[in-house]
């Protein structure tokens, strides 16, 4: 592959050598006098300081930490390569991030009500959480779904459920994100078939399917099929979207779950971008032109507790992606170079103890995402260490974003922390560490062989265990958990999924199976089976199947038969 390399702009050294020499001289003097005296009187609180991810944090950062920093090549200007400072020239001065609250519980009716509640309170994009059976490609009435109906998200087993989910919502105007992976193409087909029935043209649809199967094997674990057929399904969506849905993101390459499973910020950054590049390779191997699909690749990152580390992570991600897309993969369209991302505050950081305090944690995390230039944001609710959030908790979470947007002032200028000696040094370091991981992954034969060897899984498990040990040994303070503890009773208002909704769902599925055109249904599934066994793009056949009212479980059964199921390496 011959890479296209556009001319590199002239480097500009931020500090002149003589100035750096003077700073260094002054620093040494300060250490020997002012600092030494101070430490003599008041030692520091700890022998060393580390970030949430366990990275060493120095006492202070100065221009000396940036002496190799060339402003134009490493930072540049927003809206221009390498996009370190942001993907838009005016960022939030032009348009605020999309306030997109991840929501879903119970039946499609329940979640439809929650969507309308959120829209009424000022949210600007939709995000669907599906229940466990849906995520694994099972219908509510299958044995595997026992006890899981609507508990972690909404149950969508049929086109009928999808229609109900978006009933009364203007899907031609709102953008919709769907957290669905292994069966992503099936749920997407239901969304597209619903739009068709409502007369909304596909090119007008805006939204995202998560569809990131690699991180499922690594972290989130909602896989069905083995990696190769799964990747084929993903590339099918790239191809179909590039032809029919110019405003749709067929993937959201996600570090969020990698982080939630225990990874450090650097691991989240490195594994996510390695996965992103793997999707690009698969797309190009299919024969797709990079500039036909790369502009619609989107990303999803976690926003954890350590503010500067998180901001550095987003900035490093943009810079690495832009460089790799332009220089390694030869993308020529600047839109292919842009790393656009959604962020969600860290669910794993929420405590069951003193749950209201989670409101504050979430605010700090959301601030990091905004300072890092996110395109959309979900803020967790304070009761989520217990349950799917209740209405009041969700409203407070949304209000947190509105305060950041309208009261805090951080949206008034682009990349407000840019130029901070600490932040820039951290951005550089995370970038370097990410490349070290890329090398390790390549040495293992690439992303999929590394999954088979359990590499990511073990790295993540190791980090999760180390973090927990730090809490256990009180090296790390978690307010309300290992310090500042109070005796308290349960203070969260519970939200329960109704038995009635479950029974209604069972009846609905029964009725669909009885009343649909059996011949059309069978022939659509047959055609899909043939496509799965061959090389044709599966999306048109999945669309035909859901139009013929095949259920999610039925479509996935055809694919399970054709592709087999994944068994993961067991380790801890």
């Amino acid at each position: 592959m011959s890479a296209f390399i556009p001319p590199v702009p002239e480097p500009s050294v931020v500090f002149r050598p003589e100035e750096l020499q003077a700073i260094e001289k002054r620093l040494r003097r300060w250490e020997a006098t002012t600092l030494r005296d101070s430490l003599g009187k008041q030692p520091e609180r700890a022998r060393g300081f580390v970030s949430t991810s366990g990275a060493n944090v120095d006492r202070m950062y100065t221009p000396l930490d940036l002496k190799d920093s060339e402003y134009l090549t490493k930072l540049g200007l927003p809206g221009e390569f390498p996009y370190t400072r942001g993907i838009h020239p005016t960022m939030y001065r032009g348009r605020l991030w999309t306030m997109r609250m991840f929501a879903g519980y119970g039946s499609a009716e329940d979640t439809n009500r929650r969507f309308k509640y959120l829209i009424d309170h000022g949210e600007t994009g939709l995000s669907v959480a599906f229940d466990m059976p849906t995520l694994y490609g099972y219908d509510t009435d299958e044995a595997e779904a026992k006890g899981e109906f609507g508990t972690c998200g909404v149950a969508v087993s049929s086109l009928h459920d999808m229609e109900t989910l978006f009933g009364g919502i203007d899907i031609g105007a709102v953008s919709t994100s769907m957290t669905i992976n292994s069966p992503a193409s099936v749920l997407w087909a239901m969304y597209l078939a619903n739009a068709e029935k409502r007369g909304v043209a596909w090119p007008n649809l805006r939204g995202t399917i998560q569809n990131d199967i690699l991180k499922e094997y690594q972290a989130q674990k909602e896989w069905i099929f083995p990696p190769e057929p799964s990747m084929r399904l993903v590339v099918d969506t790239f191809e179909f979207a590039s032809k029919h849905l110019p405003q749709w993101n067929p993937i959201s390459i996600s570090g969020y779950h990698i982080r939630e499973a225990g990874a450090t910020a650097t691991q989240e950054l490195a594994f996510t971008l390695a996965n992103g590049m793997e999707y690009v390779r698969w797309g190009m191997d299919r024969g797709l032109k990079i500039d036909d699909f790369a502009p619609r690749l989107s990303f999803f990152f976690n926003a954890h507790n350590d503010l500067f580390e998180e901001v550095a992570k987003y900035r490093a991600a943009r810079r690495i992606w832009a460089r790799e897309m332009r220089e390694t993969f030869g993308a020529k369209n600047p839109r292919s170079w842009l790393l656009r991302f959604h962020a969600q505050t860290a669910g794993v950081s929420l405590t069951a103890q003193q749950p209201e305090v989670n409101i504050v944690r979430t605010a700090v995390q959301a601030l990091a995402a905004v300072l890092g230039g996110t395109q959309s944001l979900h803020t967790n609710s304070y009761d989520e260490a217990y349950q799917v959030p209740n209405e009041k908790a969700v409203r407070i979470a949304l209000r947190t974003q509105q305060i950041l947007a309208h009261e805090s002032g951080v949206a008034n200028t682009v990349d407000p922390l840019g130029g901070s000696y600490y932040l820039e040094s951290l951005t550089d370091r995370m970038e370097e560490e990410a490349y070290a991981y890329f090398d390790r992954i390549a040495a293992l034969g690439g992303v999929i062989p590394a999954i088979r060897k359990g590499f990511f899984q073990q790295e993540i498990a190791n980090s999760a265990y180390r973090y927990q040990k730090e809490i256990e040994d009180k090296e790390r303070t978690i307010v309300g958990v290992n310090d500042f503890v109070v005796e308290e009773g349960p203070e969260v208002e519970p939200l329960r999924v109704s038995q009635e909704a479950y029974e209604r769902q069972l009846r609905r599925l029964q009725r669909i199976r009885k009343e649909r055109n059996a011949r059309k249904h069978a022939s659509a599934l047959d055609a899909l089976r043939k496509a799965c066994e061959g090389d044709d793009n599966t999306i048109p056949l999945i669309l035909d199947a859901v139009r013929a009212e095949a259920t999610l479980g039925e479509v996935c059964d055809v694919m399970r038969e054709a592709f087999g199921v994944w068994e993961e390496p067991l380790l801890y």
Binding site: M132, Y138, G147, E148, C152, T351, Y386, P494, V497, Y572
Partner: protein, 130 residues
Amino acid sequence: MAKKIRVLIAKPGLDGHDRGAKVVARALRDAGMEVIYTGLRQTPEDIVEAAIQEDVDAIGLSSLSGAHMALLPEVVKLLKKRKAADIFVAAGGIIPDEDVPKLKKAGIKAVFGPGTPLAEIVAFFRSAAE
């Protein structure tokens, strides 16, 4: 030397959240116990079968998806049916407070919520197995 305590750590149902289960598995192993981790998507039948095959003293069930009431008591019931009620069962994960007494009544010996110190879990398995 005393016989090592054998513990099965299992993930019942479809729940894919395995961070907690793995951290607990490792803490028990580091505390000198023999740990068998089942992996994901185990039915109550799978779990009981594995527990009997592996001759464990205890089972730790991890559930974060809200399916705990449907799946956890079933494990205790099946153990009784298989005449293996001497294997004791503990649970952890996202379990609302009001469900804890119900689970205990169903024979789950302990329920560990978010933020439980590992030391407490280790101590529980050790004392319960003795």
